[in-house]
Amino acid sequence: MRYFLQRFSQFLIVFFLVTFGVMVLMRAGLNAPGDPARTMLGGTASQQQIDTITARYHLDSNILGQYWFWLKGMVWEGDFGYSVQQNLSVVDYMRPTILTTLFLGVYSLVWALIIAVPLAVYQAYKRDSFLDKSGNFFSFFFISVPALVFAPFIIYIFVTKLDWFPRIGEKIYPWDDLGAHFKNFFLPVVVLAVPLSAIFVRLLRADMVATLQSDFITLASAKGVPPGRTLWTHALRNSLFSLLTSVGVNLGGLVGGALIVEQYFNMKGMGFLLVSTILSKDLFVVQSLSAILVATVVLANLGIDLMYAVIDPRIRHARALS
């Protein structure tokens, strides 16, 4: 229990540091009262508009005060602020982009795992075979050549030349048209999932190879357990630690990658929105987007922390005692 309180306070600290940092950065130079509102509203705003926004969001208080009111608005009232430029509440403005990025991130992670786990298990089982060596080569290749580098070529070949996939732009939800949805997400997910799965394969294969040499695996054979069951039931669960750690470590990178991929593929995701709102100084949108991103990554890492205990009873018991 104490363990999770500790982890949770770490989460809060990271969250506060990042969101406050973003706020400070975005307001650099906007010190006079009314400055933030005027910046958001643009040059043509009337004094009355400026005053309304300033009063509504306490933009005349000092930065700590502004931060406090912003947090309070988010947590107590679900009010993430207002995009004056779009004349929309930030929540309504962000909602579609969050969905797009969520699909992108979740599909990429899930596919990276779906590709990596069976491959790594098989490679470890057939260690040093031709297939294992080819697998090692390809994972090495995709780790060395960042997919973000060849993404433009992929787009050129498959979108511009062959016209197999659409260049996105239009947001298509699975509930509108499932086929078009997957077609839309295919290439961006490939760009994100392939290098991720290359990392996962390497780590899981190494752990599996080590596990397969342990006594308890030999014992499983000596009991007459067939190889498939030995691999998937006995060996895999004992080999997940590096993989899990790496999922956590790479989540932040995945979010970052998603933001870039959105630019390439012209997807209206959070990255797209973040870049455009940073440029147009739409303060509340920037703050809310970064708050959501950091909270997602840190919360996912908390979840992964829980997973260690689910997988390994020794960790569970050690934590229960602390």
Partner: protein, 356 residues
């Protein structure tokens, strides 16, 4: 004890295991490691055999060769291993799988690493029951509880739901025994089953093994570096050195009339009760032979106190003693022979011989 887990009625004619010139060599970067180099013996049903030798003499490789549990790659195998009259040396892993756990079972040296750390004890015991005997989950669980009681684990029902790390080393080794006994195997291989345990627990585990062997009419191959361990617990003893069998005899005959100077040296190196529990053998001077380039002649010659010229030139064959046809040894100048006494007289008492 349930009928299911009791060893089934057995045909008592013919040897259970018959090895003929078994060799297991490993291809390594250094060359061919002759870990087991021409071992022959037979084991009768229901009997127990101790395999003794210093660490590195090939005991583990020999027992795993018989079971067919070697790492699939790099091993070159030769000879014949018959189990209940059937040749099993060339069998594939999938052919062996029907035998593993049901006919042959094994207990490993280190109970700390031999159980799956993330699987409940109960499931680990139930697994072979479900695989070989097609037991339903609940039946297998009930049988597992009975097995834990058989190996004297208190509060068996509660233990089933525990994980290995919640048990002491001795308890874990009992769990290993319960797993091995689960399907009523014909022969049990115990590879240094007590080496990793406290002295006080060692005797309990050995007694448990002996008792279960008698109750279940099961053969036992007990592998150890400690002649003292097998002395009271096996019918026969085979002594290994450098991948070869150098002496084999019924236990009583071996102790009454030991022939190999190596066996004699092993006897003198039995750890005293006063030693710490993990002391390595240190009494025999010198190191075991190089298994890549084994010496010509007797492999023990370089370290033997009674070595003669012939020992370094000609390899002694395994011969039977005149007193006991079941007692064989491989030595030109065995303990008790004139040459042995002659050599012994030359050695000042209390001295050690330099290693060549």
């Amino acid at each position: 004890m349930s009928d299911l887990i009791q060893a089934s009625a057995r045909d008592l004619s013919g040897p259970l295991i018959e090895l003929t010139d078994v060799k297991t060599h490993f291809k390594t970067a250094r060359g061919l490691v002759r870990a087991v180099d021409g071992v022959s013996f037979t084991l009768e049903r229901g009997k127990s055999l101790g395999i003794v030798g210093e660490s590195g003499s090939g005991k583990t490789v020999l027992s795993r060769s018989i079971m067919g549990l070697l790492p699939p790659k790099a091993a070159v195998r030769h000879g014949s291993i018959k189990f209940e009259g059937r040749e099993i040396l060339g069998l594939s892993r999938s052919q062996m799988r029907g035998i593993w756990g049901s006919e042959m079972a094994m207990i490993f040296q280190d109970p700390m690493t031999s159980l799956n750390p993330v699987m409940k004890i109960g499931r680990q015991i139930a697994e072979p029951l479900r695989i070989h005997l097609n037991m339903a989950r609940s039946d297998a669980w009930a049988t597992a509880e009975r097995l834990l009681t058989d190996v004297r684990i208190p509060e068996a029902a509660r233990r089933l739901n525990q994980y290995p790390h919640e048990l002491s080393g001795g308890m874990r080794q009992r769990v290993m025994i319960a797993i091995a006994l689960a399907c009523g195997p014909t022969v049990l291989f115990a590879d240094e089953p007590t080496t990793a345990l406290d002295v006080t627990v060692q005797a309990q585990i050995l007694d448990l093994l002996g008792e279960q062997r008698r109750d279940r009419n099961m053969s036992l191959i007990l592998v150890t570096h400690d002649l003292g361990v097998v002395a009271g617990h096996t019918d026969e003893i085979a002594v290994m050195y450098g991948g070869k069998l150098v002496e084999k005899a019924p236990t009583r005959s071996l102790f009454a009339n030991m022939k190999m100077p190596y066996t004699e040296a092993l006897l003198q190196s039995i750890p005293k009760l006063t030693d710490p529990s993990h002391t390595r053998l240190s009494v025999i001077n010198g190191r075991p032979p190089d298994l890549v380039n084994p010496p010509v002649g007797c492999r023990f010659a370089a370290r033997c106190l009674y070595t003669q010229q012939r020992c370094r030139e000609e390899e002694p064959p395994l011969v039977v003693t005149p007193e006991d046809p079941e007692h064989s040894y491989a030595c030109w100048y065995p303990v008790g022979s004139p040459a042995y006494f002659e050599a012994k007289a030359r050695i000042p008492s209390n001295s050690t011989v330099e290693v060549l």
